[in-house]
Symmetry: C2
Subunit: 295 residues, 2 copies
């Protein structure tokens, strides 16, 4: 199967999971469901849950055991986008080619929809941990890994650093730490979650960490390059917004050519990290895909 066909197959699995997750995990329907579903089903790339399923497949894990955690990560990612787009944050009107959550449902509902998605991620993981008496330790540990990646030492710290980096000249080192937290932490959790669930040996975990850190870096560099030279029509969100907001990026710090070199070398490191693990085909192509995508 070609990489694109494999990716689409994984994407379909994720879309099917997500399609009913909100209604299946709530006993009381209010209008917030629509707002949550709007952003959750807005056609994201699903890179994080796809990484979780693909690593799980590579390690020959049972797919149903990774499902709640892959879903939780995508819920957390989606909540972070909704809050990030708010007028008081990045003030973006467009996300994935569609009006942002607060543009459709209003700011108050967008705040609550984000809160609801974040909380639902934990409801789903905890329901799973309660249910499975044989693997409760691994499941609690996986949920904890995801929680720490999403929190004030991980993704939220990155968002704070990002916010405070506007209109201030941050160093290249600060930029790297910021992105390692803002986008890297959740990608790392997505890659490591199956290894924790399956209690994989230390060597495999270390290799997966190197892979995750490098595709996380590649992902962000590519985002910055797309914002710098992509077209709004293809990227599906406002482009040039980094420059407009005077934000430090890999492109502004390194220049476009060096940014592209760093993108290339981080993909190479990611590929290298997986070479001793069997069935690495999809994940290696995934690293290449992250660097080559045009949106």
């Amino acid at each position: 199967m070609s990489f694109i066909a494999g990716y689409k197959e994984y994407q379909n699995i994720v879309e099917n999971w997500l399609d009913s997750v909100i209604i299946n995990h709530s006993s009381f329907r209010t209008s917030i469901h629509e707002a949550m579903e709007y952003s959750l089903m807005a056609g994201g790339k699903r890179i994080r849950p796809i990484l979780s399923i693909a690593v799980n497949d590579m390690l020959k894990g049972d797919r149903s055991s990774v499902t709640p955690y892959a879903i939780a990560i995508e819920l957390i990612h989606t909540y972070s986008l909704i809050h990030d787009d708010l007028p008081c944050m990045d003030n973006d009107d467009l996300r994935r080619g569609k009006p942002t959550n607060h543009k459709v449902f209003g700011e108050a509902m967008a705040v609550l929809a984000g809160d609801g998605l974040l909380n639902l991620a934990y409801e789903i993981m905890l329901a799973d941990a309660v249910k499975d008496k044989n693997n409760r330790l691994q499941k609690s540990e996986t949920a904890r890994l995801i929680a720490e990646a999403a929190g004030i030492s991980g993704m939220i710290a990155g968002q704070v650093m990002d916010m405070e980096a506007e209109n201030r000249d941050i160093s290249y080192e600060e930029l790297c730490i910021m992105h390692k937290k803002k986008t890297g932490a959740l990608i790392r959790a997505a890659v490591l979650a199956p290894a924790v669930l399956l209690d994989a040996k230390e060597e495999i975990r270390t290799n997966l960490e190197v892979y995750a850190d490098n595709i996380g870096l590649a992902f962000q560099i590519k985002d910055d390059i797309l914002d710098n030279e992509g077209s709004r029509e293809i990227v599906g969100k406002s482009v040039g917004s980094d420059e407009k907001n005077n934000k430090a990026t890999f492109v502004s710090k390194l220049g476009i050519e060096k940014a592209k070199e760093l993108l290339k070398s981080s993909v190479e490191k990611a590929v290298e990290a997986l070479k001793t693990i069997e069935n690495n085909d999809f994940l290696i192509k995934m690293a290449v895909f992250i660097a080559q995508r045009n949106k």
Copy 2:
């Protein structure tokens, strides 16, 4: 010991726990810590964590085992207040006698501080569940109980209903459901958490549920009465805001006299529910206190 002395003792325990919880549970310091600590240490009544400790004491549980869950509930309560106060939500300038979080740190930081507190609640509970191999099921179940109470079938559903009730004539039944979710759900989780942790028998859980539901109701009726007739100086937040915002309350629906009668009968039901449980003294006085407080 008098009830007030007992309450103050519990309150001191909670303050001490909370004082270092954010820094103890994060490996990376950013400016969000200050924003989170500002609201967390702003001198709340601490009713929810005190309920958890008191129920735990009544059931003769080990106090250290309830700590992470009592803290988590107060973090969740605090996050909900920060987001609730935002300009796009209730737009309140004053909370517990101090400027609200967004007034001090700006809206963007207030959104993130709320997100950070919510997420930290789960980081703390999951770290505890991972650590304790003997009671991992009860701990996962307790975390799940709290997660469901906080989520889109619980507290968040209540906030959505509350928001949508403005400028619309909601029924008395809708008002009751709204408050049972908005304030009742987390109070219920605080009361039930020790029973789940200690695997208490069904009869005790049922009685605790009746107690929790009735003090939750009493708490909200009292809040509405204070907003209607309290003074700003004593209550510590803007009073009369419900009327200003044209919000349905127990006072607007029932009139002040009937609201006071319902407050009285709900306290009586709460007291009645505990009568077969030993060591109920503090919790019975707590129900009375909730109805008599002046802020």
